[in-house]
């Protein structure tokens, strides 16, 4: 019983934190109060569940307890006008725990997501606030995940909540006319979270897990949005490769050299299911196309069996949608593999001439790689040296040094 109740509290924390915070912000309009009350509610759960048993609907129980704590706190502090309006809101919300319906929860959580990801907040603030309020990660944990100090992160969170309150950023799901733009803003926050976790060592993988869970939550709350499913699929495909991306020494392993038996099959299947559901809507978008590309890689038995012609076509569509030079560079890589290095090189040279990516090491690394394959070793070495000058991470510099050696021109 004791162990059961303990794991029930831990599970409720995972599942319910964001829901209960969202419901209490919805009731009081006060973000700090809501967070404090939810913390109180979990403390109470840890004390009483082992004794009285786990309630049938833990979320509703936690919301009621949190709401009552809110009333108590406000009574104690008794700051007249402020608490009167908040207390009125809490009282109006009713007294029975059954009063909080599941779909009200859903609405509040969606409101919370859109408010945390409001474009009037800085990107850093959006990310931190989303993690703190929706996933229940502590300020210290978020600070560690973003390699910054706890006071800095705490200040960032305080400032964000202050801006929401003082500038009156609405706590709501945006109306239909604003929804497409605002939804893509939410997806950008989630994907940034994921990439922060993905670029780092495995210790920060928790960010990838949270990002995938958030995408699932958005899909649940706002069903029928194909780009949400597209992002979910994309992250599943990437995350499935996490074990194979680094070798035992912590060095990056190229996709074509990865041990595919270490890819997470179950997660690839989840990605495929999400992508299939997304494509059924017939409204393709950048995340769905990127997921389709990732799916070609994830489902190929080896690099040679990968559908490079299809991948090149997907990149072409993506270039048209995003007009991004990085996407065009990726297309060049796919075309080079499908149609030969010469054809790919012509596309790369066009990107070089365009100039936008002149500080991007992968542009010169790619060009060097294609020149090597064409046997133009002197030019290849020159390009890889440029890439080496621009590369920032140690793992990438070591990788490029190995490529430079392969050209046989590393001393000249």
């Amino acid at each position: 019983m004791g162990v059961d109740a303990e794991s029930a509290v831990a599970e409720a924390f995972q599942r319910e934190w964001g829901r209960v915070v969202a419901a209490l912000i919805g009731l009081t309009g006060n973000w700090d109060l809501a967070e404090e009350c939810v913390q109180d509610a979990f403390v109470k759960a840890a004390q009483t569940w082992p004794r009285d048993g786990v309630p049938d609907r833990p979320g509703a129980w936690l919301t009621t307890v949190g709401r009552n704590h809110g009333l108590d706190r406000r009574r104690r502090e008794s700051r007249e006008a402020v608490w009167l309006s908040e207390a009125a809101a809490l009282l109006l919300a009713g007294d029975d725990s059954e009063g909080v319906a599941e779909d009200e929860f859903a609405d509040d959580r969606l409101r919370l997501i859109f408010t945390c990801c409001h474009p009037a907040l800085s990107m850093d603030a959006r990310v931190a606030l989303t993690l703190r309020t929706l996933t229940g990660m502590t300020t210290a944990q978020i600070a560690r995940a973003f390699l910054t100090s706890e006071p800095t992160m705490a200040k960032r969170l305080v400032r964000a909540k202050h801006k929401i309150r003082e500038a009156k950023i609405p706590y709501r799901v945006p109306p239909a006319s604003l929804l497409p733009g605002r939804l893509s803003g939410v997806l950008a926050v989630i994907y940034l979270l994921f990439n922060e976790g993905y670029a780092a060592d495995l210790a920060r993988r928790t960010l990838c897990v949270e990002a995938i869970q958030l995408a699932r939550a958005v899909d649940e709350l706002l069903p029928g949005e194909p780009e949400v499913l597209g992002l979910l699929a994309l992250m599943c495909f990437h995350d499935a490769r996490r074990e194979a991306r680094l070798d035992s020494a912590g060095e990056l392993v190229r996709l074509e050299d990865q041990d595919r038996s270490r890819w997470d099959r179950a997660q690839i299947e989840q990605g495929s299911a999400a992508l299939a559901m997304a494509l059924r809507h017939g409204r393709p978008g950048p995340y769905q196309i990127q997921a389709a590309i990732a799916s070609c890689h994830a489902t190929a038995t080896d690099a040679a069996q990968t559908g490079w012609v299809r991948i090149a076509r997907f990149y072409e569509r993506l270039t048209r949608l995003t007009a991004s030079a990085v996407v065009e560079l990726n297309r060049a890589v796919a075309v080079a593999t499908a149609d030969g290095p010469g054809v790919g090189l012509a596309l790369v040279e066009a990107v070089v001439a365009f100039g936008e990516l002149s500080g991007y090491h992968l542009l010169y690394a790619t060009r060097g790689d294609l020149l090597t394959r064409l046997g133009r070793h002197t030019e290849a070495a020159e390009s890889i040296r440029t890439a080496l000058r621009l590369a920032e991470s140690g793992a990438e510099r070591r990788y490029l040094s190995r490529r430079l050696e392969e050209t046989g021109e590393n001393d000249s």
Binding site: E166, A167, K168, I169, P170, P174
Partner: protein, 120 residues
């Protein structure tokens, strides 16, 4: 909620306009009037004003009892304050919607600042 919508426009444009060297496109002028009328009718535009060119401005402060006066605007930047509107909106989203439909949004920059609750 009351917001001040501060209009920033390229200083060169503001000076040229005041010199009479360039004139506002009549189409934009009509759009400005239409915006004013619509937002007043909606009850969101409750005040505002247009300022003379930045070169007419004077900056001052008192430090250790000494009055320091300088010619020109506070910050020497390309974009300068051209005027302001006072908006009474439900929330920031409404204020953003109102501002985004003002013609200046297409060639200038807007800053939206909430008023302190007690201020008039």
């Amino acid at each position: 909620m009351k917001y001040m919508l501060i209009h920033y426009i390229d200083e060169a444009i503001l000076n040229a306009e005041e010199d009479g060297a360039v004139h506002l496109d009549p189409a934009v002028d009509r759009e400005l009037e239409a915006w004013d009328e619509e937002m007043e009718a909606r009850g969101v535009l409750v005040g505002g004003g247009v300022l003379k060119a930045p070169r007419t401005s004077t900056t001052l402060r008192v430090r250790d009892g000494e009055l320091l006066i300088t010619d020109g605007p506070f910050a020497e930047t390309k974009e300068q304050i051209a005027g302001y509107s006072v908006l009474e909106c439900t929330d920031l989203d409404e204020a953003i919607e109102v501002a985004s439909r003002h013609p200046t949004a297409r060639f200038g920059t807007f800053e939206l600042r909430p008023y302190l609750a007690q201020a008039q």
